[in-house]
Subunit: 259 residues, 3 copies
Amino acid sequence: MSHIKTKTDGQVLEIKVDRPEKLNALSPQMYDDICLALGELDRNDELRVGLIHAEGKHFSAGVELDKWAPIFAAGKGFPVPAGGIDLFALSGPRCRKPVVMAVQGYAYTWVVEMLLTTDVRVAADDTQFAMLEVKRGIYPCGGATLRLPQQMGWANAQRYLLTGEAWSAAEAHRTGLVQQVVAPGEQYAAARALADRIAAAAPLGVAAILKSSRLAHAEGEAVAASQLFDDMPRVMASDDAQEGVRSFVERRSAVFKGK
Amino acid sequence: MSHIKTKTDGQVLEIKVDRPEKLNALSPQMYDDICLALGELDRNDELRVGLIHAEGKHFSAGVELDKWAPIFAAGKGFPVPAGGIDLFALSGPRCRKPVVMAVQGYAYTWVVEMLLTTDVRVAADDTQFAMLEVKRGIYPCGGATLRLPQQMGWANAQRYLLTGEAWSAAEAHRTGLVQQVVAPGEQYAAARALADRIAAAAPLGVAAILKSSRLAHAEGEAVAASQLFDDMPRVMASDDAQEGVRSFVERRSAVFKGK
Amino acid sequence: MSHIKTKTDGQVLEIKVDRPEKLNALSPQMYDDICLALGELDRNDELRVGLIHAEGKHFSAGVELDKWAPIFAAGKGFPVPAGGIDLFALSGPRCRKPVVMAVQGYAYTWVVEMLLTTDVRVAADDTQFAMLEVKRGIYPCGGATLRLPQQMGWANAQRYLLTGEAWSAAEAHRTGLVQQVVAPGEQYAAARALADRIAAAAPLGVAAILKSSRLAHAEGEAVAASQLFDDMPRVMASDDAQEGVRSFVERRSAVFKGK
């Protein structure tokens, strides 16, 4: 039985890490299952947003190192299952839809690395983030070396990467890693509310934003600027653009169809 | 009659958005006029700094969408007038002189995108920033997808880009978008004070800083490092470098000429 | 006699700027001596971390401009001594080991530029940071134009670069430049404690983190992602990786050898 539970609720695909009896330790099978869920989120036209969360007092205390050791030792990277999307966003395509994430308690190693690939994040105020690898004789290989300095600032990130020390939800908020800090137990509902607001936004617009922002990040402002208007004619001609104007004139919330 | 008023005061070119009766809605003509003002700032040797501000309780509630719709639908980008500099800095050269900006009240869509191209920023504490496009069925095409994640942090930016929700002056300050928050009505004076301090600085030094910082941003540290000393011989031989040393020895403020 | 004192204590190389009678003004000779110390840190297998600090009430009020003027005027950059590593990280290789830095009092011009090349930083709460160049008729040529906007945010950095105004330790902490602010006089001990924690971490892991993070910064996420596992087989096969697992099972701190 899988420890990754998925549920479609409205246009949100909820992905739950559900192995609290082992502090949600990540197995290779769980890695596969999350990748496959992201693949489904990407392909399924009914889905607009992903929401990653975890059962229990802690998001996860880390990975099942004995099961991962041979994979790390092979030095080939994470083996992404067919139809899946790498949850560490190190190889292959990205999911074209936004992902919101909620964390609580221990949020160690792979949790931080998955968090760094998501788009909006909520933390319970008891969250303890840590990259413990240098205390275990190894180094992070899920993307923290690439993204933590970029998202948290060089020296803020190196302080935690190089010492293995934990940081708090408040520090994560201060440095931009999470957008909202709530009482323990409320992180799922807060993240769900954010996911719902994104699901209510115009899907073509949301997709164009993610695409342009990622292109700017990967290839620089000039390249992204040169492609900024590529999606505009189609989006301006969409039903949703008309609904946007109509709803504004009629002073009501728009109802978008992604067409 | 134009809704963009320019005024030269000392060595500062003030550019005022002045259409409060329409909440300073941006028309294509106003876009042209701001671009032309930036072109003048760039060319005129008497000018050292630009200052962008707006008349009224709000900076702007957005653009005149009906007038812009055909331009967006054409998908060719913003048509920059001859002699002008794109106020969204998406195509063509940048203004080589710094620009300070003051905002208040509604600072929606294009205001945020213009702000992101400026160098120092002041906000009244009643400012409400928002990228509303996804609530109107479209997406931002003035550079926010490129620059908001870069300047505010990935997930901070996506939270607002993907939901269309507003953020406060305090949040803008916390995340680095603005440098100073003041009482409503004081934003112009505070921005003017900052512009005056830049205008008093050595113009050759100021130009070299902007040039080097932009190069590093566009092409990376290594390229910028390799060109860092290119302007040094000329600047070290300038009258202003001598005035810098003299004023230091004489314990007075330097008076620079840009030569 | 050199004004740069080095001391090996445990596995930390302490590099002290020791010219308080001249407010630690940087001479070309002192530049050479710091570069040589960084070269030693890089080469010496017994050393794991560098710690840069300064004697006296102030870290430094700036450089001995009369001695540097001919070097700047030549426009060829900083002449790095043989066996040394450029303390401004503008040319040549980087030191492969982390550097922690402690600052206090005046931290002007070159101090900020050296700080920007280090990995973890502590400031006394009386620290005044400033890039004074534009008040002296010149511009910063030690890397601040490249790195201050990247590490502090574009507009936060330009506010200080373009005006020459000072900023506080609190502002440096708020914007990510320093990680810890302590009472004056305690900055050395706080930085030393951080250096000790890094020295206790797995050296192969620490080296792999710095290498990957720098590659991502210099060449982007995709390039760094493609090389992320290159060091993994060797690190997973190291004695330290075994010690990491053993110490975890035995619930004790690991003792790493860098092998």
